[in-house]
């Protein structure tokens, strides 16, 4: 990990009609680290991620990529990845590879443990396998920054741990990984730093240790509870994108 940021978010705000989903969000993502975005449902995690990968236009503020020049600077796993029916897992990755470096799909499939399903049609993959294919897709072209929106969604505990382990290995190899997750235990074990979102704003940020110390709690769950004052209700601040 280096101190140089790969991505800088400056006063990002996003409104859907009269509903403000994000308000004045600023952050910098250090190179070669695993950064986690956590927060309750409706806190704006997915909206923020969609803005920083360029899928959604911010209402105000700016996103600046400051990493190395690359054909594909940012790789992205959406919250609900879609794949073209009728194509195999290998064909799917070959298509995306053909848009950048044209590399073979096998190493990407192997990295996420899907090598045995290379010739299986995407509609015949389980939910977890589709998620893994999505993660493989996010790494096509070796982007310096990989953004994963809830990568452990739909995965069993072992596979979830495997995904977070893969993220840590990628960071060890110099790739920056930004992910959102509700699995706070895995976030605690893996993330170098954490951004806590609540009601569309950055409620806290720092390393796990710093956050624990700041809020005088012994876990990330404690931090989250302290920040959002858990009411048991979903915070509805977003709108339809």
């Amino acid at each position: 990990m280096t101190d140089a940021p790969i991505l800088r978010l400056d006063a990002i705000s996003k409104s859907f009609g009269t509903v403000e989903a994000l308000s004045d969000v600023s952050a910098s993502i250090p190179s070669g680290s695993v950064v986690a975005v956590v927060g309750p449902n409706g806190s704006g995690k997915t909206t923020l991620i969609r803005i920083l990968v360029g899928d959604l236009a911010e209402t105000s503020g700016s996103v600046a990529y400051e990493g190395p020049e690359a054909d594909r600077p940012i790789g992205y796993l959406p919250q609900n990845p879609t794949f073209r029916p009728g194509f195999t897992a290998a064909e799917t990755l070959s298509f995306y590879s053909s848009l950048v470096d044209g590399s073979e799909p096998e190493p990407l499939l192997k990295r996420v443990g899907l090598a045995a399903a290379a010739d299986r049609n995407v509609e015949a993959l389980s939910g977890g396998m589709r998620q893994l294919l999505g993660i493989a897709q996010a790494t096509v072209g070796d982007p310096p920054l990989v953004v994963l929106d809830e990568p452990a969604s739909g995965l069993d505990p072992n596979m979830s741990a495997n995904v977070f382990q893969t993220a840590a290995e990628m960071a060890g190899a110099g790739t920056t990984v930004l992910l959102s997750s509700h699995d706070l235990t895995l976030v605690e074990e893996t993330a170098d730093s954490v951004i806590v979102l609540a009601r569309g704003t950055v409620a806290a940020s720092g390393t796990v240790e710093e956050l624990r110390a700041t809020f005088d709690v012994d876990s990330l769950r404690g931090v989250l509870n302290a920040v959002v004052e858990d009411t048991g209700q979903v915070a509805v601040v977003g709108g339809n994108p």
Partner: protein
């Protein structure tokens, strides 16, 4: 980034999608069955290429838009929509729109063109009076005229396909995409003619502007071009439509459709949509319940 980088793989993926979807093959077989039925009852096939084109013209005005809508409305909906991911690749919105259009257009040309080619081959074996390859004067039937008919038919399909794609990207859900595509179908099949008729009866449209007005409606432009450039060559009938306007109309609808499809991905469009939603929300909030 090259303006059309990624065009080839995207077009190839769309074409592969069409080829792998059995429903589209059935659609082509269904078209052939309809053509056979129409020609058996109309008897055009016994008269040669031009009478066959006349018999098929009216059904194709409905069937081509149906095929185009079937191909276009799913181009950016459901599992076919990976635009959020493609935005992280070096693929411009223009490449995406043109690539998807090109791949699906080749599919449309095959679905509609194959049964028409089969009909043409049957005419060459059994069809009416002796035909010349080159129709050098009026009153001569020719396979070239039938090839021209096929080309005009696929050109009409291209315009409707581009319009359907544009309608489907303007909405967000698969269900809304289908509704928007069906709206395009209604507008293409009946809207232009009805609008022109209304204009004439209301006195808004002068008689001498009729050919121009019809040229701006996709199906009337197609019909007029077939009557002028296929039927009109073999008969002494002409003046059905203003040919340059009709050609410009079909090309224009295609280009506008593609421009909208490419433009919807732009940040400026996204911001414009947000502003419209904000104003709409405020207006709704201001209205008494």
């Amino acid at each position: 980034m090259s303006r059309l980088r990624g065009f080839g793989p995207i077009a190839w993926r769309e074409l592969s999608t069409v080829v792998r979807t059995r429903g589209y093959l059935l659609l082509s077989v269904g078209l052939l069955a309809v053509f056979v039925g129409v020609l058996r009852s109309g008897g055009g096939i016994d008269g040669g290429y031009v009478p066959t084109a006349v018999d098929l013209l009216l059904p194709l005005e409905l069937l081509v838009p149906i095929v185009a809508v079937a191909l276009g409305y799913r181009a950016f909906s459901g599992d076919n929509d990976d635009r959020s991911v493609l935005r992280t690749y070096p693929v411009s919105d223009r490449s995406l729109a043109v690539g998807v259009f090109a791949g699906r257009f080749v599919g449309l040309a095959a679905i509609v063109g194959t049964p028409l080619v089969i009909v043409g081959l049957v005419i060459s074996q059994v069809g009416g009076p002796p035909s010349l390859v080159f129709a050098t004067h009026q009153g001569v039937d020719s396979p070239v005229l039938f090839v021209r008919f096929i080309a005009l038919t696929t050109g009409f399909g291209a315009a409707v396909l581009a319009m359907t794609m544009a309608a489907s990207v303007l909405v967000r859900t698969s269900r809304a995409a289908l509704a928007a595509a069906l709206a395009v179908l209604v507008v293409v099949v009946a809207g232009g003619d009805l609008l022109t008729l209304t204009g004439l009866t209301a006195g808004v449209l002068e008689d001498d502007l009729l050919g121009t007005a019809l040229g701006l409606s996709p199906n009337a432009a197609y019909r007029g071009l077939v009557l002028e450039l296929v039927v009109g060559v073999a008969t002494d009938r002409s003046g059905a439509i203003d040919i340059p306007v009709a050609v410009a109309g079909l090309v224009g609808w295609t280009v506008v459709g593609l421009a909208i499809t490419a433009g919807v991905g732009q940040r400026s469009f996204s911001l414009l949509r947000d502003r419209i939603k904000t104003r709409t929300d405020r207006l709704r909030a201001a209205l008494p319940r």
